[in-house]
Symmetry: C2
Subunit: 180 residues, 2 copies
């Protein structure tokens, strides 16, 4: 049973700073100053700066893995619809983490904390594209994935944002293309 809330505060502050200033652009001292403790305190609670990042991402990655599992058995439009709903909800629950993925530099993606995430994002993309191999559909899926992550951060109104995100995704991805 933790006796203090310092660990949680570190994570909350780090999430904000990593998002704003980037992982590399945020120093341990930055985090410590914001929390109101020493740098050594951060390193008492976490092994390293990357361990902070990993701990930050763990809950979101866990839920992404669950979504990944749900989608694994689905094909075509069923996969797409489930992916859109699931992903939008996930992004709304983990706004900073999602922003880190798409607003963070690519070097963050190379850290061990992201090891399992990349394949799941690719699976998600495949589901967004209804398992199509058509380049146009794949590109559309990627646009929507990236776009949803990018705009989720700054809008406080979950209800409007959620319905708008789902609506735009469906318009972009669900429009009948049987005439192509």
């Amino acid at each position: 049973m933790a006796r203090t809330r310092t660990r949680d505060e570190i994570l909350a502050v780090a999430a904000e700073l990593f998002y704003r200033a980037g992982f590399k652009g945020t120093s341990l001292q930055d985090i410590a100053a914001e929390v109101g403790c020493s740098k050594a305190t951060l390193l008492y609670h976490f092994d390293s700066k990357e361990a902070i990042l990993a701990a930050l991402l763990a809950p979101a990655a866990r839920e992404l893995a669950e979504l990944d599992e749900q989608l694994a058995g689905l094909q075509g439009e069923a996969a797409r619809a489930a992916a859109i709903d699931g992903f939008v909800d996930l992004v709304l629950r983990y706004r900073r983490e999602a922003g880190l993925i798409y607003h963070g530099s690519l070097d963050v993606l190379l850290t061990p904390a992201f090891d399992g995430v990349q394949p799941m994002i690719e699976n998600l993309c495949s589901a967004f594209a209804a398992r199509s191999t058509d380049p146009g559909e794949q590109i559309a899926a990627e646009v929507l994935l990236a776009g949803i992550c990018s705009v989720a951060i700054d809008r406080p109104d979950d209800v409007t944002l959620r319905s708008a995100l789902i609506a735009v995704a469906k318009r972009a991805l669900l429009t009948p293309r049987s005439k192509d």
Copy 2:
């Protein structure tokens, strides 16, 4: 008349490294090593690391300003159509720079190099939304802007990519909404 191509090489290498590793994650020594010169050579050609970033962004920012001007007199669907075409073409011409905007950390946006860019992006967003103040339309516009920037980098095939980006943007943004 420049006697060497060193300055251009610095810019090309910096564009790639800033994109991959972020501005803060790329050191002057990283750039110098890749170019094959000394760090001091970089600083002979550019006043500072940020001056490199500014020089990098200048051409893209110039063209963005031109697009901004073209769009200024347009309303509604005309604004939207012109914005989509213009922006997609701009992004395809400046893939790394566009990636820097959306794949870079927010602290890059706070540098003087980006001073004039932010308002233009907002204008572009307004044009994508056909000047609508409806939150759903604004959100859709932002999703598409971010998404287009995010996927432009890694696809070599301009023709397929261009038509796909324009198509997804129009589907997402142009679908009749008179039934709402």
